[in-house]
Every structure is written in structure tokens, then in C-alpha cells.
């Protein structure tokens, strides 16, 4: 449940931009994988392919062994700017998914309430997205994905637009949630610290055409927390990944 597989995947956009070339890449069940790379290297493209938002140009791609043809609630997506529906309040945004899927109210309501409580939003059910801070909006974005009980979470720089302090608390929240849920996570970021802190594996991408050049297993024991950022293990990994990324730069 929740495995992601790319084999020899290429993606060419209209106008001939070759965004991905020959990507082979697997995310195992319950694994947390971070995709790390410079701007424009095709991280979002990769995520949008598996989400079903974009069509593949060449190669094969599957989710749980089935080819991906369209988006669906088994793959919860968290967008960079949250992308909540601005005319719906927090509660309506979170129950949008179950509602359009015609799931019984008794089934989703307690779950939605519990998730919003864990997210620290129990007092904000009635608030509109514009009335929330960036961090709160993103927590609603995560809640609306989790309420569908997806087999995988696809997160595209979900904390990229937040200030440093909010980002830390969001990372900690995500660690807590993931350590209990253990869903598969594909997490796009260009922040090395974030990648190491959160992930089981960090995959480093190069730009033009996008490729995965290194796949680094992060053997820092769990549960992790913000304190992990100051351990010796962490620093070792960071130095290694930085060297890797600098090396990539030197080649080009």
C-alpha cells in the first residue's frame, strides 16, 4: 500500500522543455523520501506526475502497482501555497473531499474534528483562509489531505513560504504525525536541513534535464525532533549532501 515507482520516465512539456529524463525512482511503503534539488530541476514535475496532474511523455509510472492516469484521494497532495478554496471556511475545506466522495457524515466528521484538533485548529473551524496565518493555512492544507486517509502524501515545498520559526514548528508537527501514521511521503524541498531532518531517504536531483543523481539513506534513529538538527550524525549527512550538490554545480 502506497508504493511509488518510476521507471525510465521522461517528461517533455509543450514547447519542448525536457523537464525529466530517464528517471528511475522508487518509494517503498511507509517510506518518507525527500526530493532535493535546485530550482527548476523538475521536482514539482515528478510530484505532479505521480499525483496525476501531468501526463507522462515516456516510460512507466505506477502507484501501488497500478498505472497512474488521474488524480485521486489515495494520493493526498499538499501544495506550496496551501491552495485552499478561499470561499470555504476551514471546516468546509477539510470536509470537501469526503463530501464530494459521498462518504457518510458519521464516518468523516469525527475524523475531521480529530485531525483539526491535532493541527491546533479546533477554534478555527469557522475561519476563512484569508483570516489565517500562513502556517495555519498550511496546517489546513495538510488536514484536508489527511482526512481522506490517503495511502501516500505528496508534498511540494509545503513549508517553503513560511518564516524560519513557523517552518520549524511545522516540521516538528509533521514528524509527530508521520511517526504515528506511517503513510508513504514524497516530500519536495530545496532545504537540505529539512530533507535530512524528516526523511528516510534523500534523493538529490540535477537540473536540465532533471535526473536523480544520488539516493542517500538517512540512518538517524526515530523518533526525531528539532534537537536532531544539532547532532553529529546530522552534521555528517549535511556535509555529505552539500559536497554532492556543490560537485553537481562544478560539473556544469
Amino acid at each position: 500500500m502506497g508504493t511509488i515507482q518510476f521507471s525510465s520516465v521522461c517528461k517533455t512539456y509543450h514547447g519542448g522543455v525536457l523537464a525529466l529524463e530517464n528517471v528511475d525512482f522508487t518509494v517503498g511503503e511507509g517510506e518518507f523520501v525527500a526530493l532535493l534539488g535546485p530550482s527548476g530541476c523538475g521536482k514539482s514535475t515528478l510530484l505532479n506526475l505521480i499525483a496525476g496532474f501531468e501526463k507522462l511523455s515516456e516510460g512507466r509510472m505506477s502507484f501501488n502497482g497500478n498505472p497512474v492516469t488521474k488524480p485521486g484521494p489515495d494520493r493526498g497532495v499538499v501544495f506550496q501555497e496551501a491552495s485552499l478554496l478561499p470561499w470555504l471556511n476551514v471546516w468546509e475545506n477539510v470536509v470537501f473531499g469526503p463530501k464530494v466522495q459521498n462518504i457518510a457524515r458519521d464516518d468523516y466528521e469525527p475524523r475531521a474534528r480529530e485531525i483539526l484538533r491535532v493541527m491546533g485548529l479546533e477554534k478555527f473551524h469557522e475561519a476563512l483562509p484569508v483570516q489565517l496565518s500562513g502556517g495555519m493555512r498550511q496546517r489546513v492544507g495538510i488536514a484536508r489531505a489527511l482526512v481522506m486517509q490517503p495511502k501516500a502524501l505528496l508534498m511540494d515545498e509545503p513549508f517553503g513560504a513560511l518564516d524560519a520559526q513557523t517552518r520549524l514548528s511545522m516540521q516538528e508537527l509533521l514528524l509527530d504525525i508521520w511517526q504515528t501514521l506511517k503513510t508513504t511521503v514524497l516530500f519536495v524541498t530545496h532545504d537540505i536541513d529539512e530533507a535530512i531532518l524528516l526523511a528516510d531517504r534523500v534523493c538529490v536531483m540535477t537540473a536540465r534535464p532533471g535526473r536523480i543523481t544520488r539516493d542517500i539513506r538517512i540512518d538517524i534513529p526515530r523518533p526525531r525532533s528539532i534537537d536532531t538538527l544539532t547532532t553529529g550524525d546530522f552534521t555528517t549527512y549535511k556535509a555529505m549532501i552539500m559536497a554532492e550538490m556543490r560537485g553537481l554545480h562544478a560539473h556544469h
Binding site: 493526498g76 501555497e81 491552495s83 478554496l85 470561499w87 470537501f96 473531499g97 484569508v130 489531505a145
Partner: protein, 269 residues
């Protein structure tokens, strides 16, 4: 708050009061421009009679106590024609904005027919519907339809891609997307179309009633002109402006209520 509102009201009525005062002062013996135009006091008296007068069995003038009826006829036609224009224009606009195929099929025809003014539709309307209510409603619908459909299309085309992606990700079917994402996202543009459409609706009803029906403010306008009752003509014009203004105000109130989320947004940013 209250005092600033009072101030706004005062500022708004300065020009009309000045114009009426000038107009009154320019006239002698209740008329000006060589007797072609009555002064405001004459218009006012005529209007009072038109609105509140009691027509007995011996009353010959049609302008006694018949104002409410004329207003009612016109307003009812505008409401009907406008409603039909909304029922056609909003769904069609959403479809054109949403689907490339529908857009390629329907949009060119709309753009092609749009330059034909409502007055040019009059002969056809008369030929098909004769001197009947339908003709007026038909013209109002045509006039209000274009701004509604065009603005709705614009709004539906500009929906943020990630809102649609988010809805798809949550399992929404195409109909859910249209109803729950594209329609609300297009609502600000739709309201722009409604305001313009309603304004054109009032123009259309007057044109239609002058030619194609025998009741309403437009009919009275033309009829009063023929019998030389310029006081009624002016009272009629002021009535049209008043009701156009009131119906526009009603739409703006509705918009403020329906687009509360957007008002907060622009206020915060």
C-alpha cells in the same frame, strides 16, 4: 462612521439639487426653452397626480394614478428577461470557460452576434412575438445575455489551476468541479456581468415598450411625448433612473453578501 455616511449622502445630492434649482430658476411661468420644457415644480405636480391621483369614470387623462402600474409592468419585464439571461448566460459561460471544445464551438458565434444592437433585433422580435410581452422580454434577455456570458466565461477561464487540482485530488467529479470550484471562483466576474446586464436590461425594456408593447414606462414615455405631456416624459425618465439605480444597488448588496470572502481578502492585502 455615521457622520462620514451623512457626509457622503450630502455630497451625492449636491449636484442634483443644484441642477434642479438652476432648471427651476431658468424657467418663467412654469416652462422654459420656449415652452418645450416644464419646470421642476410642474413635473413634480404631474408626477404626484400620475402616482396618487384617483381616476374617476369621467377621467380622460391616462396619467392619473397609473404610475405604479407602469413601473410594475416594466420592472416585471426586466426581472423576467434578466432571469432568463442569467439562466442561459451563467451556465453557458461556465461551460465555455471550462471546456475548450465548447469554447471553440460557441464563442465565435457569440462574438459574431454580439455587435448586433438590441434595436436591430426589434423587427424580428415584432415579427415573431407581435405586440406582446414576449417581445420585450426577448429583447431584454438578448441585451443582458452578452455581458453575463462574457464575464462568466472570463471568470471561469481564470480559475487558479491549483484549486482545480486540489479538488481533483480530493476526488471531485467534473460536475463537482464546475459547481463547487469554477462557479464560486467565477462569481466575482459573474457579478460584474450581472450589473452591466441589468443596466442594459433597463435600456432594452424602454426601447421595447416604446415600440413593441402597449404598457410600461417606455410606452408612457413615447405616448406622453405624442400628446405633448413633457412633464410626464420627464417624470418617467426620472422614474427609470430611480429604478435602474435601485436594482443595481440590490445587486451590489447581494454581491457584498455572496463575496464576503473576497472582501476580507482585498481588505487584508
Amino acid at each position: 462612521m455615521t457622520s462620514s455616511r451623512t457626509k457622503r449622502w450630502l455630497l451625492a445630492v449636491v449636484l442634483p439639487i443644484a441642477a434642479v434649482a438652476l432648471w427651476q430658476a431658468a424657467g418663467t411661468d412654469g416652462s422654459l426653452a420656449g415652452g418645450a420644457l416644464p419646470t421642476p415644480d410642474r413635473v413634480w405636480t404631474a408626477w404626484i397626480t400620475w402616482a396618487f391621483g384617483h381616476a374617476g369614470p369621467m377621467t380622460l387623462s391616462p396619467y392619473v394614478g397609473s404610475w405604479a402600474g407602469a413601473v410594475g409592468h416594466s420592472a416585471e419585464r426586466v426581472a423576467k428577461g434578466f432571469a432568463v439571461a442569467i439562466l442561459l448566460g451563467v451556465p453557458l459561460g461556465v461551460l465555455i470557460g471550462w471546456s475548450r471544445i465548447v469554447s471553440a464551438m460557441v464563442d465565435p458565434s457569440i462574438q459574431w452576434l454580439r455587435p448586433v444592437p438590441i434595436t436591430a433585433w426589434l423587427p424580428i422580435s415584432l415579427a415573431i412575438f407581435g405586440i406582446r410581452d414576449f417581445g420585450a422580454i426577448f429583447l431584454i434577455t438578448i441585451g443582458a445575455f452578452y455581458p453575463i456570458v462574457i464575464n462568466t466565461t472570463q471568470g471561469a477561464r481564470d480559475v487558479e489551476k491549483n484549486w482545480i487540482r486540489a479538488a481533483l485530488m480530493m476526488g471531485a467529479q467534473p460536475l463537482d468541479i464546475l459547481r463547487r470550484v469554477v462557479l464560486p471562483a467565477a462569481l466575482p466576474s459573474i457579478f460584474t456581468g450581472l450589473r452591466i446586464g441589468l443596466g442594459i436590461g433597463w435600456t432594452a425594456v424602454i426601447v421595447a415598450e416604446m415600440v413593441a408593447v402597449k404598457s410600461g414606462l417606455g410606452y408612457v414615455l413615447w405616448d406622453a411625448y405624442y400628446v405633448g405631456r413633457m412633464d410626464i416624459v420627464i417624470a418617467d425618465m426620472v422614474s427609470i433612473g430611480l429604478f435602474g439605480f435601485i436594482s443595481d444597488w440590490a445587486i451590489v448588496r447581494l454581491e457584498l453578501w455572496a463575496l464576503n470572502w473576497r472582501r476580507l481578502q482585498s481588505f487584508n492585502q
